[in-house]
C-alpha cells in the first residue's frame, strides 16, 4: 500500500476513516479529540480523511435553526482584533528588543476596559493591587504580567497573579473562598497555542503561593489561568474536570 511517510505505517485506512468520521460527528471524548487535534498538524492523511467528512456532513448543519447574534457581538470581535493588533505592534516576537511601550496606567486601563461587567469595586481593588505590585522593589528587564482571576460571571475578582519574571509567579488571594469538604482548588494555565491546560498544583484558599514555571515556556501575553474545583487529591486526569471558580488572562504591563 502507498502510505505517505509522515503517517504511522500501522494505521489501517478503515480505522482512519472511522476515527475521522467520529471526530467530525463529535462523538469522541475530550481526550480523544485532543489526541486527534495534536496529530492533525503532522498527519496529512488524517487531515484529508477529516476534510472529506467535514465536506460530506456540513450541508446538514443547516438543520440547526439559525440564531441572530446580539448586536454587540461583532463589535466585541473587532475590539479583540484591534487589541491583538495593538499588542502585536507593541511587542514584536523578540521580547528582548521591545519598542517603547505606552505608560503603565494607559496600558492597564486599556486592558481593564475589556473586562466586561466587572464591578467597580473589583476594578478598584485590582488596580490598587496591581499598582502596589508594579512599583515593587524588582526592576527586572523581562516583561511583567498581571492576571486578575475573576469568577466566571466576571462579577468578582478572587485572586491576582503577579509575575516577577516570566517564570516566577505569585498567586495572591483577594478574599476568602470556601472549599466544599472533600474538594480542592486546582490551578491551571494554558497559553494560546498550547493544546491543553497544564496543572500548577493544588492551591490553599486565602494563602499566597509562589510558583516556579521553570518546566513551562515563558509566560506570554493573554495566557489563560484558572482555578477549578476538583476532588481533594486533584483532577484524576491531566486536565480540569471540575467547574471553573476563577479565570483570567495575563496582561502585559
Amino acid at each position: 500500500m502507498n502510505i505517505p511517510s509522515n503517517t504511522p505505517p500501522s494505521i489501517d485506512p478503515n480505522e482512519l476513516n472511522e476515527l475521522a468520521g467520529e471526530y467530525v460527528l463529535g462523538t469522541l471524548d475530550a481526550e480523544q479529540r485532543e489526541i486527534v487535534e495534536r496529530q492533525l498538524s503532522e498527519d496529512s492523511q488524517l487531515q484529508d480523511a477529516i476534510q472529506t467528512w467535514e465536506a460530506r456532513l456540513q450541508p446538514y448543519a443547516v438543520m440547526a435553526e439559525p440564531a441572530a447574534p446580539s448586536t454587540s457581538l461583532w463589535q466585541r470581535i473587532e475590539r479583540t482584533l484591534d487589541n491583538e493588533e495593538t499588542s502585536a505592534i507593541a511587542s514584536p516576537r523578540s521580547r528582548q528588543i521591545r519598542a517603547p511601550k505606552e505608560g503603565f496606567w494607559n496600558s492597564l486601563w486599556r486592558n481593564l476596559t475589556l473586562w466586561r461587567g466587572m464591578s467597580f469595586a473589583s476594578v478598584a481593588v485590582a488596580i490598587g493591587l496591581a499598582a502596589t505590585l508594579a512599583v515593587g522593589p524588582t526592576s527586572a528587564p523581562s516583561p511583567r504580567y498581571m492576571v486578575v482571576l475573576m469568577t466566571p460571571q466576571h462579577t468578582q475578582a478572587g485572586w491576582v497573579i503577579q509575575a516577577s519574571s516570566s517564570q516566577q509567579i505569585s498567586l495572591i488571594p483577594m478574599g476568602t473562598f470556601e472549599v466544599p469538604p472533600g474538594k480542592a482548588l486546582e490551578f491551571w494555565t494554558k497559553a494560546d497555542d498550547w493544546s491543553g491546560p497544564v496543572s500548577l498544583g493544588l492551591v490553599q484558599p486565602g494563602q499566597t503561593q509562589r510558583l516556579s514555571l521553570k518546566d513551562l515556556p515563558p509566560l506570554e501575553d493573554n495566557q489563560l489561568f484558572e482555578l477549578t474545583l476538583e476532588d481533594a487529591s486533584g483532577s484524576p486526569l491531566n486536565r480540569p474536570t471540575g467547574p471553573i471558580q476563577f479565570i483570567g488572562r495575563a496582561v502585559e504591563l
Binding site: L25, E54, R56, Q58, V62, M63, P66, A67, L73, T241
Partner: protein, 202 residues
C-alpha cells in the same frame, strides 16, 4: 419522510435556505489572510446567524454560544492564511472551526461519562413524547446534500444517531439515553453507519 419526523424538527429548512447566494467564502477567507477586515465582516454578516445556530444547538446556552462565535471569528481571522481552497470549500472550513470549538467546549465541560441530571431529565421528557417503538426520523435530513442517497440506505434509528451527534453535539451516552438503547449498541451503530456511508460514497 414521515409527518411525525417533519413536525418533530420544524427547525429544518430546505436547500434554498442554505447557500445559493453566490457568496464566495473562499475569496473572503483569502482576503482575510491579506488583512482585509471587511472581508471578515462580510463572512460574519453572511454566516453569523447560521454559525450561532449551529453552536447554540450544541452548547445550549446563548451566552456561551456567543463567546464561542467570538472566539471562532478571532480564530478564522488569525488562521485564514492556513486555509487552502484546493483542499476544501471555505464554507466548510468556517463551519468546522466554529463547530469544533463548540464540541471541545461541551466535551471538556462534561467530561464525565454519565449524563448530568438536567440533560437526563430533558432527554427523558423528549423520549416520553414518542411512541414506544422509536423508529421515526428525528431530523428533516432529506434534501440537504450529496450524502442523501447513502443516508437513505440506513435505518431511521441509525440516522437519528448520526444527527443527534452531528447537529445536537450529543455524546454516545447522551444518544443512548435519548434513544433508550444500550451504550454499546449506539457505539456500534455509529461505527457501522460511518463505514457504510464511506463505502456507499467510494
Amino acid at each position: 419522510m414521515t409527518d411525525d419526523a417533519a413536525t418533530f424538527n420544524k427547525a429544518g429548512f430546505g436547500p434554498t435556505g442554505s447557500d445559493h447566494t453566490g457568496f464566495d467564502h473562499s475569496v473572503a477567507l483569502e482576503a482575510c489572510a491579506r488583512g482585509d477586515r471587511q472581508a471578515l465582516q462580510r463572512l460574519y454578516v453572511q454566516e453569523g446567524a447560521r454559525l450561532l445556530g449551529v453552536v447554540l444547538r450544541i452548547v445550549g446556552d446563548r451566552g456561551v454560544a456567543e463567546d464561542i462565535i467570538h472566539d471562532a471569528f478571532v480564530n478564522i481571522w488569525n488562521k485564514a492564511h492556513t486555509f487552502d481552497a484546493r483542499r476544501g470549500s471555505g464554507k466548510t472550513w468556517i463551519f468546522s472551526v466554529a463547530r469544533h470549538q463548540a464540541l471541545n467546549h461541551v466535551r471538556t465541560r462534561h467530561r464525565e461519562v454519565t449524563v448530568d441530571d438536567d440533560t437526563a431529565e430533558r432527554l427523558e421528557a423528549e423520549r416520553s413524547q414518542e411512541a414506544a417503538t422509536d423508529v421515526q426520523d428525528h431530523f428533516d435530513w432529506l434534501g440537504h446534500g450529496e450524502l442523501d442517497r447513502c443516508l437513505g440506505q440506513l435505518s431511521p434509528e441509525r440516522r437519528n444517531c448520526l444527527f443527534h451527534a452531528y447537529v445536537d453535539g450529543f455524546s454516545h451516552q447522551e444518544i443512548a439515553t435519548r434513544l433508550d438503547r444500550p451504550l454499546g449498541t449506539v457505539k456500534a451503530w455509529i461505527k457501522r453507519s460511518l463505514a457504510a456511508l464511506h463505502e456507499c460514497l467510494s
